[in-house]
């Protein structure tokens, strides 16, 4: 079953640009060979780490967004763990979250339509609101 994942990993800061490109290309090859597809590759650049990792205080962040099934992600994680320049990685499943956001957006869109269509009702809505207020005042 194909799902969307985000794989973010940190490469040691003293790596050369070509080596980094080679590493990413290698991973891409693994993903496509394993039956997955790559949505985007983003090099987020060098960033200061929040805490020391393997005696490094900076790191090159790379973000991969991929379509793959669980076993392939497991395989990629294994490769990341083995590859020496990668000091930290995380893979997060995104499809559930995307589905949820899409649902919320859809709901919001329908609501907007409702409020846009009846332009007249607002004055009608004010009256009932005013009426209970007056009754409240009467009871009080």
């Amino acid at each position: 079953m194909q799902r969307t994942y985000e794989v973010m990993f940190i490469v040691r800061p003293d790596i050369l640009d070509e080596d980094l490109d080679k590493l990413i290309a290698g991973l891409e090859g693994n993903i496509t060979a394993g039956g997955g597809s790559i949505k985007s590759v983003e090099k987020l650049g060098r960033r200061k780490l929040a805490y020391t990792v393997k005696k490094f205080n900076d790191g090159n962040y790379v973000l991969l967004t991929i379509h793959a099934d669980g076993s392939l992600v497991g395989e990629i994680e294994r490769r990341l763990r083995v590859s020496e320049p990668v000091i930290k990685f995380i893979s997060v499943r995104m499809d559930e979250e995307e589905k949820r956001v899409a649902k919320i957006k859809a709901i919001r869109a329908t609501r907007k339509k409702l409020s846009a269509q009846p332009a007249a009702p607002p004055p009608a809505a004010v009256e009932p609101a005013a009426a209970p207020a007056s009754t409240e005042a009467a009871t009080a």
């Binding site: 973010m8 940190i10 960033r47 780490l49 929040a50 805490y51 990792v53 790191g59 973000l63 930290k88 990685f89 995380i90 997060v92 979250e97 949820r100 956001v101 919320i104 957006k105 919001r108």
Partner: protein, 114 residues
């Protein structure tokens, strides 16, 4: 002896709690007090806390946007409780998850270094 050891620890824990947001520790005791006197009138006017994510309609709390997450992390790196920030339950849950993910990939600290 036991009293002596316990008393110094109390003051040290207090400033740590007051560090992240100044309104926090002050918020609790007066919250209980107005109910005591009853209709004594409000001595402290406190703004109603609202959930940032509901108000600004931020749908997805993502572990990557450190700027957003940092607002809900105290100086020491702790997740700020809901009662201080006013975030709603649903969003606090997502927020906590995002912060923990961000910690794992070294975007946020587990604990501030001293």
């Amino acid at each position: 002896m036991a009293d002596e050891t316990s008393t110094p620890s109390a003051p040290t824990s207090r400033p740590e709690g007051s560090g992240p947001s100044s309104s926090g520790p002050g918020g609790r005791p007066p919250g209980g007090r107005p109910s005591g006197p009853g209709g004594g009138g409000r001595k402290f006017f406190r703004r109603k806390k609202v959930c940032k994510f509901c108000v600004e309609k931020i749908d997805s709390i993502h572990y990557r946007d450190v700027r957003l997450l940092q607002q809900f992390v105290a100086e020491r790196g702790k997740i700020v409780p809901r009662r201080l920030t006013g975030v709603c339950t649903t969003h606090q849950r997502g927020l906590a998850r995002a912060i923990k993910q961000a910690r794992n990939i070294a975007l946020l600290p587990f604990a501030a270094r001293f």
